[in-house]
């Protein structure tokens, strides 16, 4: 018998002699394992659990999730394997929903302000008192002053959106929705180029070549879990597809592209027209391309965008532009998509229109591996989201401040934190002029701290809801959110609150329901009556249970019948971008980006999301500024130096992170931190980059904030702080000089 190391351990631990004899007799060695009489980890007893399907509402896309519940407590969130958007997968954000539920700083009941506005001093009151006070306010302004009441929410979709709209309409209040990083530019481009109201689905998994202009689709853009699932399939396919990312920033998505091409900020649309020019002049277009594009006036107008003409502006060599165009035209099916940075310039709309127009030239509109249109929602009255543009919010901030044309007497705030998101409009100061501010937030965030009355709503794991994801999966889908635990505190459902108010105000005709759950059941009954889709049942009761069990209703047959326009509206020219701050005074382009887990700031209160290392810098719990390593060395900037970042609109501080992936012309700062109020894990942590973005730089077409159109200068403050991050000396990590840790091959197999 050869005495292996393991056997030696066995022998050493048990009776050596006995062990030898047993071994010789052929007794299974399992019986000889050195095991203590107490429980081994592998004997762990598992409790009885239940799993409930619901929706994750941590970001603007709702993923379908299933939640493990043991003895009434939620324990774990996982992707719902059935749900069409995420197919059983989920992100760190979905997981952290549990921390929102069990957050130690959740608001536990209604409150009235007692201290100065903004002091954060509140007194607990009962729901009766709180609602009486709110009803009294609403009654006061009913009638000719109804338009001095503003209902400001997140972009509500589905039945809650319908209830809120009906409430605002019946009362006569102004309803406004805020998207902190707005998609109105994208929605506008999709409407102009494809004639679609809804965002399309992107058939990433069936594409052979992906040309992405700035869209950080694997990290934060639109529906990142869905896109990552598709990307996994795309990468698993043979022959292997190719993926090129054209972006001014080295995003987490750029890091996964086969090739990252740096482009000067704001010139994406001009590059797209140049790519079109090459395809047209070299006759590389697909047979399905509309003749209006390949031979008409449009083809003529893009002739001036030859690679030679644009190379200097876009910062890419003419031959490279030709290669990009040829690859895109030859490796069909190919898909062009754009978002984030290209949309965030003064020429954002024309940038995106030019980018999305490229799909026509390669025959990818409405075809496999390309742009797939989404059908109309199954229930017509349900809104599919979208918010007021920055320009409209700018006007509202002015109105709050000046009281003209009419003052705002009552502002109801739900699901948004404009004091943080609209910091460059000094929304906090504007709120001081409002008669009364009412917040429905579950947390004491920056805006709620300015409120006079707080009526905290349930967090989503305690509440009913539904969603019509936009973009959808290419067919009809209604996701259903059900409470998976009993409410922990004295909070209420926002839908229920609106219905209660409606009753008090005599608006039962428009809002006849007793509870928001009834609204959902009513909607579900209409779906049942259609007799189609994923849940088949003999009666409504069984149908409703089926919908709740599966996390929603969808009909894979109900696809869009829309055909791409024969002569699409296409941009004949793309203007050059303009920036706030001259090159001389402000030498760097500031490229803000959504933090991978805190996103636009709404996840900043959750410790898991604060502690998730940024994929590229591994930074946690901080606001950092990425600056080119060579440039940093020239300026004498080292990691952790506190840098004052000054734009024409203001100054913030961030910790330096010299990075070799950043162009010397730009600096990048994540959005998300800089909260004065938002619970113990977010408060007084980092800086809010929204605060220094020039408010006057807007997309020309839509009025969206051009959030990448601000230039900055950097000054060392002379202070230093340790930049918290996962990597670096002393951190776990394979610390080896060997280069074969990540192995790379050029050939697929």
């Amino acid at each position: 018998m050869a005495l292996s190391r393991r056997k030696f351990l066995v022998l050493a631990g048990g009776s050596a002699l006995g062990a030898v004899i047993f071994e010789a007799c052929g007794v299974p060695s399992r019986e000889l394992l050195v095991e203590s009489p107490i429980e081994m980890p592998e004997d762990a007893v598992t409790g009885l659990d239940n799993w409930y399907a619901t929706l994750c509402r941590q970001c603007s896309t709702s993923e379908g999730v299933i939640v493990r519940v043991i003895e009434g407590r939620a324990k774990k969130v996982e992707g719902n394997p059935d749900y069409p958007i995420n197919l059983g997968k989920h992100s760190a954000c979905c997981e952290a929903g549990l921390q929102a539920l069990y957050h130690p700083d959740r608001l536990r009941g209604p409150m009235r302000r007692v201290g100065e506005r903004g002091s954060g001093e509140f007194q607990e009151i009962s729901w009766e008192e709180a609602l009486d006070e709110l009803v009294a306010e609403l009654k006061k302004y009913r009638g000719s002053d109804a338009d001095t009441v503003v209902l400001a929410t997140d972009p509500l979709r589905g039945h809650l959106g319908m209830v809120a709209k009906r409430f605002a309409d019946a009362y006569g209040a102004r309803a406004m929705a805020l998207e902190p990083v707005e998609q109105s530019v994208l929605r506008g481009a999709v409407k102009v180029v494809y004639g679609q109201e809804q965002l399309p689905d992107f058939d990433i998994e069936n594409a052979n070549h992906i040309l992405s202009f700035g869209a950080d689709f694997l990290s934060t853009w639109l529906s990142p879990v869905r896109f990552a699932v598709k990307y996994g399939q795309f990468r698993g396919k043979r022959p292997r597809g190719t993926f090129v990312q054209i972006e001014s920033r080295f995003s987490a998505t750029a890091a996964n592209a086969d090739e990252w091409v740096f482009i000067k900020p704001g010139y994406e649309g001009i590059l797209a027209l140049s790519i079109a020019q090459v395809i047209i002049s070299e006759r590389l277009w697909d047979a399905k391309a509309p003749p209006a594009m390949t031979g008409g006036a449009w083809a003529q107008s893009v002739q001036s965008y030859s690679p030679e003409n644009v190379a200097k502006d876009v910062g890419i060599a003419p031959e490279r532009i030709r290669e990009l165009a040829r690859e895109f035209a030859r490796r069909k099916p190919s898909l062009a998509l754009g978002g984030d940075l290209p949309a965030a310039h003064t020429n954002g709309s024309s940038n995106l229109s030019a980018i999305y127009a490229l799909n026509y030239l390669v025959g990818s509109v409405g075809n496999k591996g390309g742009i797939i249109f989404n059908p109309e929602p199954p229930l017509p009255e349900l809104p599919i989201g979208g918010g007021e543009t920055y320009k409209q919010w700018h006007d509202m901030a002015d109105r709050l401040r000046s009281g003209r044309p009419k003052p705002v007497n009552l502002l109801l705030v739900r699901g948004i934190n404009p004091v943080h998101s609209l910091a460059n409009l000094d929304f906090k100061d504007a709120l001081n002029q409002v008669g009364k501010v009412v917040s429905f937030s579950s947390f004491m965030d920056d805006t709620t701290a300015m409120a006079d009355l707080v009526l905290p709503e349930h967090v989503y794991l305690e509440d009913w809801g539904d969603d019509l994801p936009n973009p959808g999966p290419g067919y009809r889908l209604v996701g259903i959110q059900q409470p998976i635990v009993r409410p922990l505190y004295n909070t209420r459902s926002f839908g229920d609150i609106l219905l209660t108010l409606a009753q008090e105000l005599g608006m039962e005709r428009q809002l006849p329901w007793g509870s928001f759950k009834e609204v959902l059941e009513d909607g579900a009954e209409k779906l049942f009556d259609m007799g189609k889709g994923s849940v088949k049942a003999p009666g409504f009761k069984a149908f409703w249970s089926g919908v709740l069990q599966r996390g929603g209703w969808w009909d894979v047959e109900a696809k869009s019948t829309a055909v791409a326009p024969v002569s699409p509206q296409l941009p004949e020219k793309v203007e050059k971008p303009s920036f706030a701050g001259s090159d001389g005074e402000y030498p760097f382009h500031l490229l803000p980006f959504q933090h991978p887990t805190l996103t636009d700031g709404r996840g900043a209160h959750l410790p898991w999301l604060q502690a998730t290392p940024d994929p590229l810098t591994s930074t946690v719990w901080h606001t950092w500024i990425e600056i080119n390593t060579v440039k940093a060395e020239e300026m004498g900037i080292k990691e952790g130096d506190v840098i004052a970042v000054e734009s024409p609109h203001g100054t913030i501080e961030a910790l330096a992170y010299p990075s070799r992936a950043v162009s010397p012309e730009v600096v990048c700062i994540p959005i998300g931190q800089g909260h004065t109020y938002f619970g113990r894990y977010a408060e007084r942590r980092g800086s809010n980059v929204f605060a220094i973005l020039a408010p006057e730089k807007n997309d020309k077409e839509t009025g969206a904030l051009a959030w990448a159109a601000t230039k900055v200068r950097l000054t060392k403050t002379g202070r230093w702080a340790r930049l918290s991050k996962f990597e670096g000396e002393g951190s776990p990590g394979i610390q080896t000089e060997e280069r074969d840790v990540v192995q790379i091959t050029r050939t697929e197999s």
């Binding site: 050195v34 990552a228 998730t612 290392p613 050029r746």
Partner: protein, 241 residues
Amino acid sequence: MAQQSEHKWGMVIDLDKCIGCQACVIACQAENNVPLNTEEIFNQKRAIEWIRVERYWEGEFPNVKARFLPVLCQHCENAPCEPVCPVYATYHNQEGLNVQVYNRCVGTRYCQNNCPYHVRFFNYWTPQWPESLRNQLNPDVTVRSRGIMEKCTFCIQRIRRTTRNAKREGRKLEDGLLQPACAQACPTSTLTFGDLNDPDSKVSQLAKNSRNYKLLEKLGTDPNVIYLKKVDPKAAEELHA
């Protein structure tokens, strides 16, 4: 001869799919009651991540590339952490798992010192959660106290639950049904977990791919985690062991 166990758990990590999104990292922390990694803990370099995603840079601007590498306990067949433990707190079980027995551990940290993959973590303090956040803790998993080493278990609580349920119901354990939290979350399906003893399992099939390699293979640790090389047709150079 030792009797072969029915299962031998292993994982394949396809580097061509990993996007570095960290979904696995948080899924693991939620499932396994990993203490909250506060800013102070990060600054002390004592953050605990049973699975982490390392990022390696290549080249300089503008020809720069980032490579992602998820690293968790490799569940080595010849685990360097095992023989150095003076109290047999870490041992190898019949199913290929490197197991940590918390109530044996006396915190010598020899195992941490001897692990070339740096996947063993020490609890310098008793983990703290605000009372309300404790509601989330997974009752299937021990909360480790001060002075104890901890590491990836391949979600042994899930392995036990799923295999027991299958046995009780008299059915064969279906491939893919059993997933540790990281693999379950992974949006791109970079991580595939399964039974390496079952030649038809997805993990066995993937492990045969010609891109396969093991991390720091020349150390001879014989891991049960198999990596598939990143494919990059335009790589400046191919890197092989």
